[in-house]
Symmetry: C2
Subunit: 336 residues, 2 copies
Amino acid sequence: MDIINHQFRLATRPVGAVKRSDFTYTGEPVRALADGEVLVRIQYVSLDPAMRGWLNAGADSYMPPVAIGEVMRAIAVGRVTASNNAGFAVGDHVSGLMGVQEYAISNGQGLNKVNPALAPLPMFLSVLGMTGLTAYFGLFDIGQPKAGDTVVVSGAAGAVGAIVGQLAKAHGARVIGIAGGADKCRYLVEELGFDAAIDYKSEDVAAALKQHAPKGVDVFFDNVGGDILDTVLTRLAHGARIVICGAISQYNSTGAVQGPSNYMQLLVKRASMRGVMVADYYPRAMEAITAMGALLASGKLKSREDVVQGLETFPETFLKLFDGSNNGKLVLQVHA
Amino acid sequence: MDIINHQFRLATRPVGAVKRSDFTYTGEPVRALADGEVLVRIQYVSLDPAMRGWLNAGADSYMPPVAIGEVMRAIAVGRVTASNNAGFAVGDHVSGLMGVQEYAISNGQGLNKVNPALAPLPMFLSVLGMTGLTAYFGLFDIGQPKAGDTVVVSGAAGAVGAIVGQLAKAHGARVIGIAGGADKCRYLVEELGFDAAIDYKSEDVAAALKQHAPKGVDVFFDNVGGDILDTVLTRLAHGARIVICGAISQYNSTGAVQGPSNYMQLLVKRASMRGVMVADYYPRAMEAITAMGALLASGKLKSREDVVQGLETFPETFLKLFDGSNNGKLVLQVHA
């Protein structure tokens, strides 16, 4: 009996925010495995802002864009249900770039085994996956906070931001999160232990930074770009480090990206701005996973996943990243 | 007999490019010296793009703005003609922030003695002064070129840019200058030994960078900002370092500063952008002066000063920095 694999394939390059019509939802029988291949039944698909960038043609990016007709690229976690590869047994759980679909066939390259006895599967897409590595190495390698430093995180209630803030706090920094809405801000302070949170939707961010970071911002971990980056640039401390992790405010822009007008503050404050790319840190993944595992165990690091049911909801669920309606790491559940 | 000191005092905050009417040209008798003070007869006044920034109120800058009514701030070099300070004798030559005027009274703080037997006086305002220190430390401390790296300099025929390019070349880098006009470009290649020059007025800078820096730009020393910064951002090599020294294209802007739209390339290319502020390096000035003195002596570093006669020409002469009509370090000669 054929297994039918449902998939979202890119139909047309989105202009602005993605729409359902930018994709085709297809169903096709799973083909027979070749030698060395494994079949993975996908359980959870990670939804990440970076995926929006993978849809743009032409831009000089770190990966080729998803081709028209190709299955939408995404990191996922699932269970091996058939294997012609000695490295993987039926029943193994694996993560990797398996796409927005129900089943993936892989030659094993880029697949990582994960142990579901250690943590719930969605956590391997968040704190114990790419999200966690991005937060950990972006903060410590690029941001280099010292104890007592003031660390500001934008998109602070998002998947990466929430981890960054907690890691900085555990490291002895004073942590201020910028997020949209009173609920998220309350969550950051009351649940995650941030020292302060700024609601950019209702507060004057510059004034709030002046209040909460009177000596200036030593480390700014930016997931957002746009006006928030420009505002934080005006409140830097001497020698500040800005970590450029993302620019979610700009990903759906149909015009030119809003560059930081106040970038000359890098000169005035002898500050630096540097990008973090998680792929550079794969060889050091164990260092981060070990450190964060210990923090999870001790309760100093909390992970929250926002699990949405149903592969077929993909286009609309993905938009939750951009309208700010997700709570924690956004994950699509495909199979139980 | 009273000595009359002529001065340019700020009358009103300029909007856009400075105009003569933004200043008053005043003459007043030099007052008697107090204890500890010296009188300096100014010979040369340094004209620098940064001076435009000193005229803006409100901006969060590294120095308070020049006050209305205050003598226009500028670095100058001159000769001590009277002294009540044991540290300075009549006949000593000194440099420091003495202003756009004929005479300055100082308590000696911030004055540095210079030896006119070693080099012509204007050179103490260029390669042997702040300009040279900015180039040296910006390039080596922030840019950190390695032999074989491709170094790109904007404003390459300007005072700082020309030194940066020659220092990088002497250090074993491949050096590409961006400048305005065929004459300047010829000068960079034929006189200063740059490997290539790009005339941004007549060439497609992105295409020219692709041609001259096919492996990408390892170090970009930016004096210009605006479109040029945005274009170079698209041609970075992996791990590139961008030195933010100035943004002369933006200093006379009456709207918002044009921030670099392509700053997310810092992430794609794992690159950094950092400001250089020369004041941070005063304690290490001797290191730079010694190194550049040796290069000057060996002919590997050439200094060109564009000396304009007459204090009273200040407002118009200053504009030469912004219309690109100066050739080398722009200096105003006040007294022989």
